[in-house]
């Protein structure tokens, strides 16, 4: 038994990625849960509208962080502010009465606001009146499914070629590198498109999720996000020598996205120490877009910023992935001799 234990430790010590996963993952989970897993929203972006807006500002609970004051606007403007995520709560104080509009797609924020309704205000939950969790989760889950397909399945598909030695065979066929790359990625792109269609339709049908916004905008978000995740998948495959290595890396990329993208825990409630990470994750921007389009019918112009971030990510990630993949199948004189294909050559 002692020999077995010693052998196991020796193998473990030499599998650096597993050691990193074993040591890094608990630390990562601790930090993420410690700083990110907070349900209490302590700061709510608030708009005050109507003639009594300025007067109202002094009487509100400190949790309401006033970002907009407009004495001339009414409830219609308030709805637009919520629809475009410019505020989470809107207080409207007109001669005809007082109302409190709350964005129902931000579950924890809405619950926090409901606990602090000022006297005389009637709360009105918009976009998700029953604070239905499923409605809020489905748009984010569409992104998660795509992320999974894109990173795990694509990376496994490419790494399998390398493990079988068929990637090398492709490299000696009269194919251009671009033929191999497009031919390899296109099926996953089609599968991802099918997946997003199925998951979205199922979400709308099974969970009664509305589709209030622009379909072309949703299609643009989805296509861009697919490019990002396929790029991540190919990038993972270019630094993995085996399928198990690819899965380990994919897990390390997936976990932070689930925790820090705002999919479960609101970004606003996270500690600043980890919140910034969320802004570098593609799922964060897809969730903002998908929730806005499906649940609130957000103005497409307002979504251009998150879409732009996703486009930038797609260009960078996909570009790096294709560059590395291209280098594997068509080595240049300056190529790194320790790249996976090159390394295979010294084995025999």
């Amino acid at each position: 038994m002692q020999a077995m234990i010693v052998k196991e430790f020796r193998q473990m010590r030499r599998d650096r990625r597993t050691v990193a996963l074993m040591a890094g993952l608990p630390l990562l989970l601790l930090i993420v849960f410690g700083y990110a897993a907070r349900f209490d929203v302590t700061e709510i972006d608030t708009a005050l509208l109507g003639p009594g807006a300025v007067e109202m500002a002094t009487t509100l609970d400190p949790v309401f962080n006033v970002v907009t004051v407009n004495e001339l606007a009414g409830a219609d403007v308030g709805q637009d502010l919520l629809r475009n995520s410019e505020a989470g709560v809107v207080f409207v104080h007109t001669d005809s009465g007082q109302s409190m509009l709350i964005d129902g797609t931000e579950l924890f924020m809405a619950q926090s606001a409901l606990r602090r309704v000022p006297p005389g205000f009637q709360p009105n939950l918009l976009f998700n009146p029953n604070l239905d969790t499923a409605k809020v989760m489905v748009p984010a889950l569409i992104g998660l499914v795509l992320l999974f397909i894109g990173t795990v399945i694509t990376s496994l598909g490419v790494v399998r070629e390398r493990e079988q030695g068929t990637l090398e065979q492709l490299a000696v066929m009269p194919l251009r590198a671009v033929d191999v790359i497009v031919g390899k990625i296109a099926p996953y792109f089609v599968v991802a498109l099918l997946d997003i269609t199925i998951v979205t339709l199922a979400g709308l049908w099974l969970f009664d999720v509305p589709f209030k916004g622009s379909f072309p905008m949703f299609a643009l978000f989805s296509l861009t996000f697919i490019f990002v995740v396929l790029g991540l998948g190919v990038a993972i495959s270019t630094v993995s020598k085996s399928q198990s290595e690819a899965i380990q890396l994919a897990i390390m990329l997936l976990l932070p996205q689930i925790m820090l993208s705002g999919m479960i825990f609101p970004l606003e409630s996270m500690s600043a120490e980890v919140r910034w990470i969320g802004y570098f994750l593609p799922l964060t921007w897809f969730v903002i877009g998908a929730r806005g389009i499906l649940l609130k019918g957000t103005d497409p112009a307002t979504l251009l910023f998150p879409l732009g971030i996703l486009v930038l990510m797609a260009i960078v990630v996909f570009g790096i992935a294709v560059f590395r993949f291209h280098r594997d199948i068509a080595p240049k004189r300056s190529s790194n001799p320790t790249s996976p294909v090159s390394a295979a050559a010294v084995e025999s």
Binding site: Q164, G165, T166, E168, Q169, A171, V172, M173, P174, L175, R176, P331, K332, R333, S335, P337, T338, V341, S342, A343, A345, V346, E347, S348
Partner: protein
Amino acid sequence: MKPIEATGVTRTFGTFTAVNNANITLHTGEVVGLLGANGAGKTTLIKMILGLLIPTAGHIRLFGRPQSRQQRHRIGYVPQNLGLYPDLTAKENLEFRTKIFGVTAQNTGITPFGNKLVGSIPLGLQRRAAFAAATQHQPELLILDEPTSGVSPLARSKLWDQIHARAENETAVLVSTHYMDEALQTDRLIVMAEGKILADGSANEIVAGRKTVEITTDRWADAFNLLDCDSPDSSTPRVSLAGRKVRVMSQSIDTIRDKLDKAGINADVKLVDATLDETIVKLAS
């Protein structure tokens, strides 16, 4: 126009030199064996010829020109691990190749097992399928990396028949192997060890003039043990047994006679022609 012309080819990985200043040439219709132990540099050299690795130094020309994608139409390659998709049938694997090369499948010889997944058929059949896949486009240069590794003697013999048939059709064939008996199937041998080319010629040319000492004695076991102890490196044995005759490559006949006399072993000691195995062991050491 020579199918392969490599001059001063070197490939290093960090401080390790996998191939050191190799010069090789292959002519049309010639079967050339690349012979060497594991780690000799055969696969690295093959990968440089195929363009999978870029030489650190030296030049490689295929069909008289620098390597290019267009030349790949003229090359067939079977890697050690066969390069077939195990989750496709043999027929689907061939279909994939023929489409890429823009040819139609011909008498492939895989019909009996064509509809079976490659991963589910024996290694010998997998190698047949890989050979068929690599030759469907009638390549002018065929490169086979240890094509008979792990297959039965019968399957090996059939594969060599196919290789010779290809060569008769003007295909130049480069075969890497570490089996000495297979070396005799080739027209020419290139012997490699530690990244260097040690010999280049026919088996007869390589062996020509090389002698070994043959000892015939009733006390052959004692003689073997006595002389084997003197081998400087047990990984390259220079004393061998042929039946009950002891053969020694590394020591002079006078030295051996002297040692046997001192040990009181009465023996008939003479110089005989060396075998290819002995010559290669001697070269490698």
